[in-house]
Amino acid sequence: MLDVLYFAWVRERIGLPGERVETGAATVRALVAELSATDARHAAAFADISALRVAVDQELTDFDAPLAGAREVAFFPPMTGG
């Protein structure tokens, strides 16, 4: 089981702060393909992944990152701290 979290407009577009998914996805990109197939809201949120950033187990990474052993994946827009 994998905890998938959403922040900022990704959370709003999907309508959930997160969800627990059963997945065999080997990479973030494969997980995105599975999530996009869930419904129209997920499809809309993941339509342009160049507008998204991803963290696996709270570390920023890229969409080709492997998910083996991962417990938490978070999707969000580019950060606006400071």
Partner: protein, 149 residues
Amino acid sequence: MTVRVQAAPFDYGAECARFAAGVAGAGAVVTFAGVVRDNDAGTLKRMVIEHYPAMTEKALTAIVGQARARWPLCDCLIIHRYGALVPGEMIMMVATAARHRAAAFGAAEFLMDYLKSRAPFWKREITSDGGAAWVESRSEDEGALRRWN
């Protein structure tokens, strides 16, 4: 080295004084504060900052680690708020202390550049007409990181 992520306001003057008084051997202390800026039309009612609690302190601590690897710092402090803030309120502060000013200034700028685009915070602006919009990241902020590579 201290990293604090909090909803509550902080007393900038007191934090700066405490930081400066607590560092031994430093000849330079640099402090910076980020303030909620009203929009050009003057209609910003509040700014709401969302963050990713499990990641925020971890990311900030990693950024501090990178700064320490680059500059000989005696100490540094980051305070970053989340939640609802009004124009004029302080969002965050950074303080650095080093034996010489170049390191203190350099590390403070580095920390700010990384905080802008590598710490998991997202700002949302609520205007007095009821409008709400996520603040978009600026390409200049991403560009600012490149000078450190």
